[in-house]
């Protein structure tokens, strides 16, 4: 078997998490720009690997950025009347948009658009390189029924497409033509009826093979703990909103969230299971996680230059500062590209050239 250069889904989740952390914390254009460039480099390397993920998204990150950055900049420019560099002044009597329109608001809006583009680009990479099987395996054990339904649905999609084609041909032979909305009914109804009939057969087959899901039983004490945890989170959020105290708010939210997570983990233990083809955790996955952790650590620790992360163009636009250590830490995002660079170039086998769907079908049958 040739090595397809696949990186574990959890490693990609870490990489993605750190990018979300960066765009959440910072509006410094240097850092946002660097993050976007490094994500684009990883994307360029990903395009040279076999397509493991699904079809590429309709919008490329470049196209997304070209639409979203001007949109957010213009909207902020029109509706936020803050800043000292006034470009235009609209009559104050005009609702919402009336007042001073400033350069600072325009820049801040563009930076928000840049952050959104960065998120979009990162998800586009993950969509390209993470296989369907790996994504389904990422569903936590707590949601075992959800994972089973997902696996069934994904497996049934090609069969349903085939069924749809058959119905179309059969109706065409009978002289059916698509004229107006209601003429779709003779196509959709057989598809729905046939699908539900197949669901009954599948259920019988599952039962015959020993599938016994049964309603999950959660002890009352655990349910009460779950409710108490949620109550604490809601209380913490409300305390935060009324500004009654940061300490209490944080304590309530962290405590409540911890209780909820504990119950979720305990619920997951009710579903012991084995994996038919577990994806191995390899050295390359450690490299990606390590790169992401280095970036996160430098960004979260109170190191010199960290204050440059929190750039704001208000009240007067200034040139943002760039700290060397914080900027270099972003190189951690390049870890996936480094992994692929160290590997031999992929062999063109033709498999997957028509999209990942065919390749997935070899693995994901249940």
């Amino acid at each position: 078997l040739s090595d397809d250069g696949a990186i574990h889904g959890l490693a990609w989740a870490c990489w993605l998490g750190v990018i979300l952390l960066i765009v959440t914390l910072s509006r410094n254009p240097w850092y946002l720009g660097l993050a976007l460039v490094w994500v684009s480099v990883v994307d360029a390397f990903a395009r040279r690997r076999p397509l493991l993920g699904r079809v590429a998204p309709l919008w490329s990150p470049l196209r997304f950025g070209l639409v979203v950055i001007p949109l957010t900049a213009f909207f902020n420019f029109l509706t936020v009347h803050v800043g000292t560099t006034v470009l235009v002044r609209l009559p104050a009597s005009w609702p919402v948009i009336g007042g001073a329109l400033t350069l600072e608001a325009l820049v801040y809006g563009a930076l928000n658009g840049l952050a959104l583009t960065c998120i979009f680009a990162a998800f586009a990479v993950v969509n390209r390189v993470v296989s369907l099987r790996a994504l389904i395996q990422l569903i936590p054990r707590t949601y075992y029924p959800v994972a089973v339904i997902t696996a069934i649905a994904v497996t049934f999609v090609p069969a349903t497409l085939y069924h749809w084609q058959q119905i179309r041909e059969a109706q065409a032979v009978r002289g059916h033509r698509l004229r107006g909305l209601r003429s779709w009914l003779p196509l959709w109804l057989p598809l729905l009826t046939g699908g539900l009939e197949r669901a009954l057969q599948l259920a019988e087959a599952m039962t015959a093979r020993g599938f016994a899901g049964g309603p999950a039983h959660y002890p009352a004490a655990r349910l009460m703990l779950l409710a108490a945890g949620l109550l604490a989170v809601l209380g913490g959020l409300l305390v935060r909103l009324i500004g009654a105290g940061d300490l209490w708010s944080s304590l309530l939210m962290v405590g409540g969230g911890g209780a909820v997570l504990w119950v979720l983990r305990a619920a997951g233990r009710q579903h012991p299971h084995t994996r038919y083809r577990p994806m191995p955790w390899r050295g390359r996955d450690w490299v990606v996680v390590g790169g992401a952790l280095i970036t996160a650590t430098v960004w979260l620790l109170p190191l010199p230059g960290r204050s440059t992360i929190f750039f704001t163009p208000y009240p007067t636009l200034t040139l943002p500062a760039l700290a060397l250590s914080t900027g270099i830490a972003l190189w951690g995002l390049l870890a996936p590209a480094a992994v692929w660079l160290a590997m031999p170039p992929p062999v063109e086998e033709g498999a997957g050239a028509g999209g990942a769907w065919e390749g997935e079908q070899q693995h994901d049958r249940i």
Partner: protein, 308 residues
Amino acid sequence: MSVPVPQVPVKPVAVNRQMPQFATFTIYLLTTGIGVVALLYPFWLPSVVQTGQGGMAHAQDAPLILTLLVGLAFAVLLLEVQTAAGSAKTVALLGVLVAINSILRFVDVAIPGPGGFSPIFVLIILGGYIFGGRIGFLLGVMTLLVSALITGAVGPWLPYQMFTAGWIGLSAPLCRPLVRALGAEGRAGEIWVLAIFGAIWGIIFGIIINLWFWPFVAGSASQYWQPGIGVWATVQRYMVFYAATSLVWDSSRALGNALLILAFGAAILRVLRRFHRRFVFHYAPAPVRAPVVYAPALTPTPRVEVQP
């Protein structure tokens, strides 16, 4: 001469339903509360900032807090709702319905309809209406998840889409009392109620989905410098943004939902009702009557009744 046979009391299964039901109700209430407050958090933010208690820090972490809280509420709600998918029949039913609906999304992505039009909501609404809120929630959540997996549409918007589509299915049974009150079951009135419901959700879906990036668009720090801005002012900004960027888009979704339900609703409801009787039924031991016997009584065997 008949031998008097003592009545054999059938002891009900010892299940304490009250506690789980109370806990379930509390969980629904709290997750909805957290979801709503978290989604509205960015609107309150300017007021929080002005209180001065670490307001600037709150402004910075708004997207993070929003994502974490919505994620937490969604995780708990999904845990509760997935108990509905206990049997092989329900699992298979959901798997196949989700596959059909995902095909519709696939077609919609390949041949985009006008604006935000998408055919996936019809089955979520009608499925939730017939099979119940939990199945409707799962149908909504799983449709968005599976279709995102197969079309490469996994993104930060996905949890919001899943949560909102789940809410659509979860709330669909709310139409039942109205349909009953109108005496419109099985009539045209039922379809009209569902079509209006679909149209309303077409708009609300867009309003909620836009909130995932609203903290980015609204800008958080900018509010800090603007004296006097409050919840209403922020809502006004959002309304302007929504009207400018999404209202036309979402209107086509609302119109599409209504038209599709009006055109196909009656036929799909008939099919779903027919299969509902085959998929969802409960085994309930019948009360054992004293048999008229002429011999020493045998241990009565509970009869199994199939109730639709």
